[in-house]
Structure formats: C-alpha cells, structure tokens
C-alpha cells in the first residue's frame, strides 16, 4: 500500500477478541510496510505494551474485559506521548466519542468496518489528521458548540482559517491545497495549533476551538 513514506510505523492493537487481534496483526504486518505491531487484549496489557513500544498509533477497542477503552485514552497518551489513539467503537455513541476526545483521541472507526477502512483511519491519525468521517466530525463539533469553555490561548487569524478548513473535514492535504501551501508546512502548523490549544490531537484541537468560540461549528459556518 502507500506507506513507504512512513517507515517502521509502530502500531499497538488493543482488542480482546483473539481472532480479530491476530487477524489485524497479520494484516498490518503484511500491508503496512515495516510496521512493528504490538498487541494487547486488556487495558492492563495495553499500558505495559504502550510504555515499551512507544507506538505511533494505537487502535483501541472500547469494550475491554477490564474497562472502557475511551476512559483509558488519556492514560495511554501520557504513557506514549507520540501516540495517536484511534478508537474502535461498535456504536460511535456521543458519550464514548466525547470521553475519548477529551482524553486526546485522534479519531474513531466503527467496529463494523473492514480492515481497509481501519487502516485508512490509522494512516490518517499518523499523518496528524482527525481520523473521523466528515459527517461524524460535524456532529461531534455541533455537540461541542453547546458546551462552551474558554480556550487557554488566543489563536491567530491564519490558524483560525486552517482550523475552519479542518473542521469541514478537508484534512491536512485538502487544507494545504486550499491554502496553496506545502503539506508539510500545514502539518507543522496543525501541530503548533494543537500545542497552543493544549490539545493532544487534531481532533481535540477542533473540539477545543469550537467550545472556545475560536471557530464556528460546521452547521453555523
């Protein structure tokens, strides 16, 4: 596939179904070049492997024998600060999404998806994109607008423009094209905005920006 540009990406799969875990492991090793894959069937094991592997991306099932994946996102991001956490959820319920984003999750993928869609989400998260479908992103941000909270720091007009483009589901590549800037520069700016907003993912940046009134929710735009 198209992963020569991200050599030796480190992936942690947290899933309690042994067959699904084994299948994902095998598929990731085969299809994502040079992927180093760790697996865990419980949150306890996930904490251990996250600390050892320092993954670039974590695929995290929500329903696990020792707790809810969404509740563990913040802890995993602390253990592996470079990790983008993508939640695997059966329902995509607003409560689960909210908890996970507030913990710093980078995105979501539905459990009914196949391997191809799941790997697309993982790649998006590694790129620094919000790994979430445009429609679900719109719902999430519309909900966030009803729960206003102040932002830690002011955001420049340029960065606001960038956040608005991302909030409409354009992604870094789409925003770069719109702004006529190199993708790498836009990716760097997205990271800088996340730092400004004290967010651990692009998705969390967007939620914080909407709650703080920095950008309007997509429906009002």
């Amino acid at each position: 596939m198209s992963d020569q540009s991200t050599p030796r990406v480190r992936v942690l799969v947290v899933e309690d179904n042994a067959l699904v875990r084994a299948g994902l492991l095998r598929a990731l090793e085969t299809e994502v070049d040079g992927a180093t894959v760790g697996t865990a069937g419980t949150l306890a094991a996930a904490r251990r492997v996250a600390a050892d592997l320092n993954p670039d991306v974590v695929l995290l099932d929500h329903v696990l024998p020792d707790g809810g994946g969404a509740d563990a996102v913040a802890e995993l991001v602390t253990l592996a600060p470079t990790a983008a956490v993508v939640m695997l959820t059966a329902t995509g319920s607003p409560a689960v999404l909210r908890t996970a984003v507030e913990g710093g999750a980078a995105g979501f993928v539905l459990k009914s998806s196949g391997h191809a869609a799941i790997f697309d989400a993982l790649r998006a998260a590694v790129r620094g994109d919000a790994a979430i479908g445009a429609e679900r992103l719109g719902e999430l941000l519309t909900r966030a607008a009803r729960d206003p909270r102040p932002v830690p720091r002011q955001v420049s007009v340029e960065d606001r423009t960038l956040l608005v483009l991302l909030s409409r589901g354009l992604g870094i590549a789409g925003a770069a094209e719109r702004l006529d800037l190199p993708q790498a520069d836009v990716a760097e700016r997205v990271r800088a905005v996340s730092t400004t907003l004290a967010a651990r993912s692009t998705l969390e940046s967007l939620v914080i920006a909407v709650r703080g009134g920095v950008i309007p929710p997509p429906s009002a735009a």
């Binding site: 179904n17 042994a18 067959l19 875990r21 084994a22 299948g23 459990k111 998806s113 391997h115 799941i118």
Partner: protein
Amino acid sequence: MEDETDDGATGRTIRVLVVDDHELVADSLVRVLSLEDDLVPVGIAPTLARARQLVALERPDVVLLDQELPDGHGVDAIGDLLAAHPQVQVVMLTASTSENVLATAMAAGAAGFVSKTSGLGELVNAVRAASRGDAVISPELLGRLLTRMRREPARLGRDLTDRESEILGLLARGLTNAAIADRLVVSVHTVRNHVSNLSAKLGAHSKLEALAIAMREDLIPPPPA
C-alpha cells in the same frame, strides 16, 4: 495435539469460505486462516445469498457460517449449501449459542460449531477436523447438548398435553367424538380440535393412524379405575 491435527505435511489444502457480514471479523478470520500453509480462504460472503453462490462457484471444503446475517439465519441455509455442494462441511460460527440453534444446525447437517471468541488454535483445528469429516464441538457445548437430550428424550408423543392423552385413551376405547364431548362436558368442536392437534403431534394424517401410532408407541393411558 498440533502434530495430530496438522494436515499441512500431507500437502492437501483445505479451501475455506467465510460467511459473516461483520467485516472486521471476516477480514480477520481470512488473515488468520491464511497464516496456515494448508488452509486457503476462498472468499468472504456477507449474506446467505452470496454464500449460496460462492459455495456453488468455489466448491469450498469448509464453510464457516455465522448465525445472524442480513438475509436470514445461518442454520436455515445449511440445507441449501449442502444441496449446492454435498461434500462441503459447514461449521457454525457462533459466539453464544442457544441449544435450539445447536439442535437445528445438527439436524440440518452441520459438521459442528466454533466460537468467534475462541483462540487461533481452536479455529484452525476446527476447520481441519471438519474437513476430515469429524464432528466439531467444544466439550462445553457438547455437555449442554447432552444435558438437553437427557432432559427431553426425543420420543414421539412426549409433547401431548394431559387432555390430549385422555382423549387418546377414550378414542382407543372406541368412543366417538360426540361421546367424548359428552363425557368431558365440552363441545364436539373442541374434541375435534384436540384430535386434530394430537394427530399432528404424532405425525398422523387420520384418527385411525393416530391410534395406530399411539398403540405402537405405548401412549394409550390405562382406563381410569
């Protein structure tokens, strides 16, 4: 255990069709199966309709069949799949199985059952065992099935109600429907309904056949003292 079940050394390959609409599970099963040299996944069918097509086209040795599918229950398609390709072995993929589903699947000709939450070895062994024509069932499921069979011996007439048994006894003594109605203080219509129901339960097409079956199966209660 591994050596006993490993058919890889013989060079024979086992072609496997996965029937499951849950893409993550289906994709994962295919990956897991393809790790084994002797197992060849031949496709994924997300519906029963597609499963029927692929069984006819691909002639797999083993079908892993989910129970809940968008166009019906897996157990109800076992007969069709066997008709399309009589050599196929159908293994039901069941997370938690009611005994009714177990019994229906076995009666329809399933080779066995394996849980979606089983380990890798268990799944692979199940596919290999089924391909050899062995029954595939975990000790836990087998225990439940045997308990059910002990509890409910599959004897003809065991599902007759007390009233139906009573009427059967009166019929055996030569009473007409009208006489029975008089005796039981019910309408002739009600007696006729009871006779019709008990005949159906005995698989009889007539009152006479019902009596013959009831005599053979020793279902006639003794006359009241």
